[in-house]
């Protein structure tokens, strides 16, 4: 059900006031230099961060503007997301059709969902070496398990009446999967997408920070370069870029998906 307009405006005002308060607090700490000589390094002023933000995009670092770093990161991310999401749908779908596949895949999901991608990094580097494919591998790892867990849980939660109604009108195995299981699990799938996206984004930045591939420099590598060169304002400006991209995906892609599916169908508030 749609929230009343008044309530939505109120929530928006609360958020804006909160952000302004936080920024004011930051500026106060930065200007007052309350942390002594290192204060400017820890808390650059908002003006410095804003200037660095613009500089990142206009001049960048080592001849590469921020757009190149963003482009590289997003390309690797999209590749990993696409592979991870596709695999999770195929494998979870097969799990519904075959009980044997379900037993094995459920075990795999339970085991690998607990393994942080960064912990796998040494093993992956030994096997594949340092190249962009390793980052894609880590993104796939970040996506496939939470996504699969949500899809499997969604399939298990499909009300028996939908399955029987589907069987009654002639749906079987694959057609039942596509015609009933998938649409009935959309709320779980959307929730899985949110978790998968967040994990993938974090995994990507972590991997790039730990071993940025110079041939394909990404945002994580940029932050690390700024840290190494003590360019803290640029570092914070890059964090803002990461947050902006995250919000764009959340409000520009994930929220519309939710709005046009489960909320439109009355399956979620």
């Amino acid at each position: 059900m749609k929230k009343p307009k008044k309530e939505r405006i109120r929530a928006l005002v609360v958020k804006i006031v909160f952000v302004i308060l936080m920024l004011s607090l930051w500026e106060f700490v930065a200007v007052s230099e309350m942390f002594g000589s290192s204060s400017k390094l820890i808390f650059p002023t908002l003006e410095d961060i804003a200037a660095a933000f613009i500089k990142n995009f206009t001049k960048g670092y080592a001849g590469n503007s921020m757009w190149i770093y963003i482009g590289n990161s997003l390309l690797l991310l999209l590749e990993g997301l696409a592979i991870g999401i596709l695999l999770s749908f195929i494998l979870s779908g097969l799990s519904i059709i075959s009980r044997t596949v379900y037993a094995i895949y459920d075990l795999l999901v339970s085991v690998f969902d607990l393994l942080p991608g960064v912990a796998l990094l040494p093993v992956v580097i030994i096997i594949f070496g340092i190249k962009p494919g390793v980052i894609v591998f880590l993104v796939v790892h970040a996506v496939i398990w939470p996504m699969s867990r949500n899809i499997l849980d969604g399939f298990k939660a499909v009300p028996a009446i939908y399955i029987e109604a589907g069987l009654n009108i002639g749906l079987r195995k694959a057609s039942l999967l596509l015609g009933v299981y998938l649409p009935a699990s959309v709320s779980y799938i959307v929730s899985g997408l949110k978790v998968a996206w967040a994990r993938a984004w974090r995994g990507l930045i972590s991997a790039e920070m730990i071993f940025g591939v110079a041939s394909v420099p990404g945002i994580g590598l940029f932050i690390n370069q700024m840290r190494t060169n003590m360019k803290n304002a640029e570092m914070y400006a890059t964090l803002i870029v990461i947050i902006i991209i995250g919000l764009l995906v959340q409000y520009g892609i994930l929220d519309p998906i939710e709005k046009n599916t489960v909320r439109k169908w009355g399956m979620s508030r």
């Binding site: 029987e164 009654n168 009108i169 002639g170 749906l171 009355g266």
Partner: protein, 250 residues
């Protein structure tokens, strides 16, 4: 009239429970074409299980024949209307819910699909709600759509498992009247499960009372002139007979 449904030695034992439970034991039943059969019986006597076996949702021993051919799995010749209001797919509009079985069958022509759903919705007086999603409808309207969906498929048999049980008295009465009209016009056979003796007398041309194990302890033809009301001649006697059958064989 020819026999459309023949049930031979039907036995259903639930084995997935701690104790094996025999719900139906050697049930034999024949139902004629275009018959409106109402099934009465106490809770746990196997009414719903019988319907689910006919629909193909349960495994069983014995035989279920539709037009002489054995049926073991669900099919569009036997469409079930469930008691649960939430039997429509929430992700499809009312008209898409009705059209979907035809899309599965390979019909892609939009005009043809529209005609099918419009005609079905007209029968249940819900033409104006074609573009609505199920969550925007009341319980009674959802059941009407479920009936329209079943009618659109023109099945041999429509199986109805207490479809009006959770409705208020007025809506229930309206739907009973609509169903009577529809049943007269359609060529399908109806098997209607109910706990309500009055509902069975109003709707059923034949009424059976089941007892434990699915044994039919009463099998009556209802020849009363329609519409049947409590004031109809013979109503009281039939009501008493069915009540006695229900309570003597609990």
């Amino acid at each position: 009239m020819s026999t459309v449904l023949k049930i031979q030695d039907l036995t259903k034992i639930y084995t997935d429970q701690a104790v094996k439970q025999t719900v139906l034991e050697n049930v034999n039943l024949e139902i004629d074409e275009r018959e409106f059969l109402c099934v009465l019986g106490p809770s746990g006597c196997g009414k719903t299980t019988l319907l689910r076996c006919i629909a193909g949702f349960e495994e069983y021993s014995g035989k279920i024949l539709v037009d002489g051919e054995e049926r073991k799995t669900p099919g569009t010749d036997r469409i079930m209307v469930f008691q649960d209001f939430n039997q429509l797919f929430p992700w499809k509009t009312v008209e898409k819910n009705i059209q979907y079985p035809f899309v599965i069958k390979g019909i892609r022509n939009k005009a043809e699909l529209h005609e099918i759903s419009s005609e079905a919705l007209k029968k249940v007086k819900l033409e104006k709600y074609a573009k609505y999603y199920p969550f925007q409808l009341s319980g009674g309207m959802k059941q009407r759509v479920a009936i329209a969906k079943a009618l659109a498929l023109k099945p041999k048999i429509i199986l109805m498992d207490e479809p009006f049980a959770a409705l208020d008295a007025m809506t229930r009465r309206d739907l009973q009247n609509e169903l009577l009209k529809i049943a007269d016009e359609e060529s399908s056979t109806f098997i209607f499960i109910t706990h309500n003796i009055q509902e069975a007398i109003i709707l059923g041309k034949r009424i059976i009372v089941l007892t434990k194990g699915g044994e039919a302890v009463c099998d009556k033809r209802n020849t009363m002139e329609r519409p049947v009301t409590p004031a109809s001649e013979g109503y009281g006697a039939l009501w008493q007979e069915l009540r006695d059958a229900l309570y003597i064989h609990p």
